[in-house]
Symmetry: D2
Subunit: 406 residues, 4 copies
């Protein structure tokens, strides 16, 4: 049995390694950082405790940090960990050190929390956090004194630091997600592209002439609306914030509420970050065969429980496509059960490699800044934005990587 | 053993049935034709011999013809037959009749030709042909007298009828592919969409700012160039025909030869229908890491043998992605080994469902016309275009199906 | 009095010369032809009789023909002649020869016909015709024997040669307007650009979010619809031909009839070439303040007489903008009284200089072909398309002139 | 003589009235404000001192304020005052009160400053300021105590209040130009549209395929770049700020410095707000016949003195088009002598009517807020942004005015 497990792990590690290779070859920003780090070794003597979605692109980030001298103890998110990437990383030996990544896709919540605990047990000095879990854990343990600082991937983690954990975190935490580079490069362009690709990939439907309603005109919604219109779709925007609605109207979109636009829509895509923005009132007015999809982070924007509760029956008709029969004879189509459909279906790739190269360089240089600032104490405690000089450095490197001048 | 085979077939048929369902629910043009045919029964007493790529969309075409009273004996193309769809169709009973579809994905060329023979053995009166194989076979057998007429899917089949088979085919054959509706709906828009989707799906690369060279500005090339530019790509067109080059320049594209544009290209996509349009002279001038892909029907547009012959090594780095190392230290990336990359990789869906609904209605109404004209002798012998009234009927129905006025 | 007239003419000629200079400096195709002609002198010994709209761009065409050795006797169209350009041309001396251009803007129809007669009196051997007036005149005079051949600018002139004058014209006439280059370069792109520019210039209204209905999806309509949508307009297409309507729908436009779209429209623009396509049924359904404009050649597409007949009052509210009050309290706005509004208002420039450079090179090389073919008799009699080699030559030169490869 | 002058004034007033009518009929936001003001009379008992560019759109603003009960004493900008609009306004009688607008187009700077003095002499209680001239004047006079507050149209006026006049202005001043609505509606969309229109109107050149370099990717530059690309132009962006350069690259533009892009450019358009961004180094590298134009507020972005100093000769070849001959045989073309070319040439209309309706409603409601807040003292002293509730109110009204939901 042990033998078999080992074999399984070896296979996993090999699969992970192969999947990481193409990705790594298209991440020039991290490649340059790795090359720099091999000389400068900013993390020498530090252990980074990491909590982050584990997929092949993440592996390239981890390799980069390790090349900077970091020891790494990490765990993935609950439910999305890719086992072969974990196996690959645990197999990796950098300068004679081994990385330690906990977690498997099938872990239940109890197991996941245990993994977070194990990361903290490893006594990290720097945190790469996600949703504030590591920061909250270290506060609960009374162990904040040993932490130099860290980064936080999400906006909601940043909010948590500023409210629930306000005053309790004596070290600096750079919040990555509010970076303008990330908003433009990832939320607008990468999500826009990924939603367009995923709609075509999953449904195999024609885009030109199809009537889309994009709910929300934040950075993601802007991207989704523009990409779908570029492909020939007829796009309307549902937005309740007047200023964003105004921007959408000036951008040439039809603008109204989701309820008003519902009868017209062939497809409704939510991108608001808010719960229940599409519910019974919308379902009631959609035409037979219309499609519902969500690309927001949480699976709550479409009120799926209400939809199913009011339905006669529901069944999968293709990968990530459910057909919901309603009592009045209409049916609606739900993609990915209301979860992020741009990460669903066969062979979802998520955000483009280059957009993650950008996002992870934000992580990398912010973590380097934390390590360097520890000595000088030059960063204030608590949540703070990515330093302007880091944003500008990355923007310049990205322009070079894109050969933007040609 | 027999039991197991039966079980396998049953599973296949169930899988095929499931995959066909979503497709069928999004083919309103064929649905309407089927409903009409159930009343009018234009194929009553006829057997249609079919040679056509067998995938789920094809199944809906076959069901439609069967609903019109046709007996059907068919075979797929060599190498692309989807076994579960064959199983599903062979299981189908329409009005007490069973369909007969020959062929499996693993058939070698000998087996494939045997299948074509079996279709002819079934003594069809109407042919749904592909590349002129059935027409040539029936001529070789001296059996043309029993044929009322038929359709031909491809342009090259039409050419064959006008040259090699000129004067030998005493029955009318309507050539589907030259239809303006098909050029616009399928070659321009469906291929354009599918190429954009497949590039993103297979490579996971960012489109905005990426430098694409589209080789060829026929209907397919036009679609590919416009769709990629719409997504933010920088697109140049390589075209040797002056008139098409002029059109591309007026459409705002940079226009030159593939050789001239090679050093600038991040990605070269061929869409010309001609062999060897991208060869050694282009490979030599491409930058390190540049990508080659083809969306033309035949896998000969990129001179892959020359590329491999001049390479140091080649290996797959991801699904449908090969990395080719060159002696001068550069590497190039080849998608789908030079075959249609829009049908490659994990989960390729091909042209959009609605574009095939359109294309197959062209087939359906042309076959109906063949059956109806047989009595009156109102169609001339030999290759001929889709009758204008059929084009107009379909255009009108498509506008309705798209709810184009909303 | 004579003195004053001379002074007036001199001023006119100077004004004409100045206006022609900028134009000439941006017509590289005609510049190259002129340079070639100075060596090859294809029109040596020939007199070209010309009937064509006289404006600064036309002057550059005339200079080019003169540089090829032609004597020229010409007249403008009725009502659009620009007097300073006539003065400039009549002042011009090329190789010691003077050009003779008849006509003034204020000429009435009688005077205009007299001018056509004077052109024929000058005994041309080659005709540069417009609407078939010169060809019909020469037939009426029984003077066709002295004509080597000619060109015809318009489609309707070509039609006239093929019907009314069929069999009566023993010399070749190359019909310019059916050229694919002209359809793309002029009808689609130049008219599209000019309509967009003129709408903004005349009305000073915002384009993004404005609802346009483009009536007709021929080459002009395609251009107009695409250019307005590109600028952020919401664009619908009214088209009764099923095939063009299909193309518009696939291009992502809302498609219906003008009557259906009327209540939605902020602006209706006609581009069909047909009389009365927008009439009472449309006027009745338009909203208060909606705008009517036409860009088709003839001022008959909007039924202006019916509109005025049903109105309470009408008055100009700005240059080329009339406000029409209706009995039900609504008002409509009519641009340029239903004439081509892209040639109306203050400072209309018409089609872009380069598009006319292209169109006039078609004229120039076709006239050269007529002169050269006269000796060999290699062109058939009657109306015929621009020879393919001329189209390809011009396409190549235009690509060079545009520096299309950069 | 007096009689003649009166006659001239009468003619002017009539011309002004006519030009204002079309504009007023397309300013629904001001129309609604006027209707509201006729009931609420927020300016009853107040005199507004105004310094603002006087053209027909401004007249509608003035009428609106007058309808709210304001007495108005105003002056235009130096050099741009439209005399017929002044005449029209001075003729206007609202509720028995006459407006007083000083200034004529031909006023020299001394005369202009005298007019500013006359506005202050009129003892206004509220200021509608432009560049801080009125605020600085009132401070210099020691008369600030009589001022309730005001608005400032420009960003540079806002800066002046925060620096030179900091602490000296005891009343609130709402700075209009920083409003997000104004940035989007005016700087991006209205300037973008106006630049595209003006380039076509003035030069009569073809946009598709033309190579534009837009210098600056602020709100104006973004608009200009997007509008020109939409029309088929090849557009590159020159931007030295890394973050904006990054955004431009992600938006799919070629991005570099003006010097690098100079040889490629057919047209360079400056939109930076900074002096000398295009100078000798750029001129030296531009190709023969390339075009220079500026749309930034000040006429200093192109270093015209340096260009002329290094030239052999310069002359006008058409309205707003100068041809500059250089010693090396090249010539460059300069539009509008480096001033805002979107306000130059024959018949310039400037920003779209609706965008100014929006901008002037910002003025109107901000001035109303100043008047209402005077009693309660609810606004702090000094420069401040447009209150959020006003922005949202206007956004909602604009959506309604655009019928954005259709």
């Amino acid at each position: 049995m042990l033998g078999m497990t080992e074999t399984k792990n070896d296979l996993d590690a090999a699969s992970g390694a192969r999947r990481v290779e193409w990705i790594r070859s298209r991440m020039p920003l991290l490649a340059q950082a790795r090359e720099d780090f091999e000389r400068t070794r900013p993390f020498e003597g530090h252990r980074i405790g990491m909590s982050l979605h584990v997929e092949p692109k993440t592996a390239v980030l981890v390799e980069t940090l390790a090349a900077g001298g970091a020891e790494i103890a990490g765990t993935g998110n609950h439910g999305s960990t890719q086992d072969d990437v974990v196996a690959y990383l645990n197999d990796l030996e950098v300068d004679g050190r081994r990385l330690t990544i906990f977690g498997r896709r099938d872990d239940d919540l109890v197991a996941h929390h245990a993994n977070v605990g194990r990361v903290l047990d490893a006594q990290p000095s720097i945190l790469l956090d996600n949703g504030g879990d590591l920061a909250a854990g270290i506060v609960a343990r009374g162990g904040t004194a040993s932490i130099l600082g860290g980064t936080e991937e999400t906006t909601s983690g940043g909010d948590r630091l500023r409210t629930e954990l306000a005053g309790l975190v004596p070290f600096p935490v750079i919040v990555i997600n509010d970076s303008l580079l990330k908003q433009i490069g990832e939320n607008k362009h990468a999500v826009g592209q990924s939603v367009a690709e995923s709609f075509m990939r999953i449904t195999n439907l024609m885009v030109p002439g199809t009537r889309f309603v994009v709910v929300g005109y934040g950075w993601c919604g802007r991207g989704v609306a523009h990409y779908l219109r570029s492909l020939g779709g007829k796009v309307a925007v549902a937005e309740i914030d007047e200023l964003k609605a105004f921007e959408a109207a000036l951008d040439g979109f039809r603008v109204s509420t989701a309820v008003d636009l519902a009868p017209w829509a062939d497809v409704i895509i939510t991108a608001t970050g808010r719960p229940g923005v599409v519910g019974a009132e919308v379902f009631d007015r959609m035409h037979d065969g219309a499609i519902l999809a969500n690309c927001g982070h949480f699976p709550w924007e479409i009120d799926v429980p209400a939809l199913l509760a009011s339905s006669v029956s529901s069944r999968a008709v293709d990968e990530a496509i459910d057909r919901i029969e309603l009592p009045d004879g209409r049916h609606l189509v739900l993609l990915a059960q209301g979860r992020m459909f741009n990460l669903a279906g066969r062979s979802p790739k998520g955000n483009s490699i280059q957009s993650m190269d950008l996002g992870f360089l934000l992580q990398t240089l912010s973590l380097e800044r934390i390590a360097l600032a520890a000595a000088s104490g030059s960063l204030p405690a608590g949540a703070q934005p990515v330093p302007d000089d880091i944003e500008r450095t990355i923007a310049r490197r990205m322009l070079t990587a894109m050969s933007a001048s040609a």
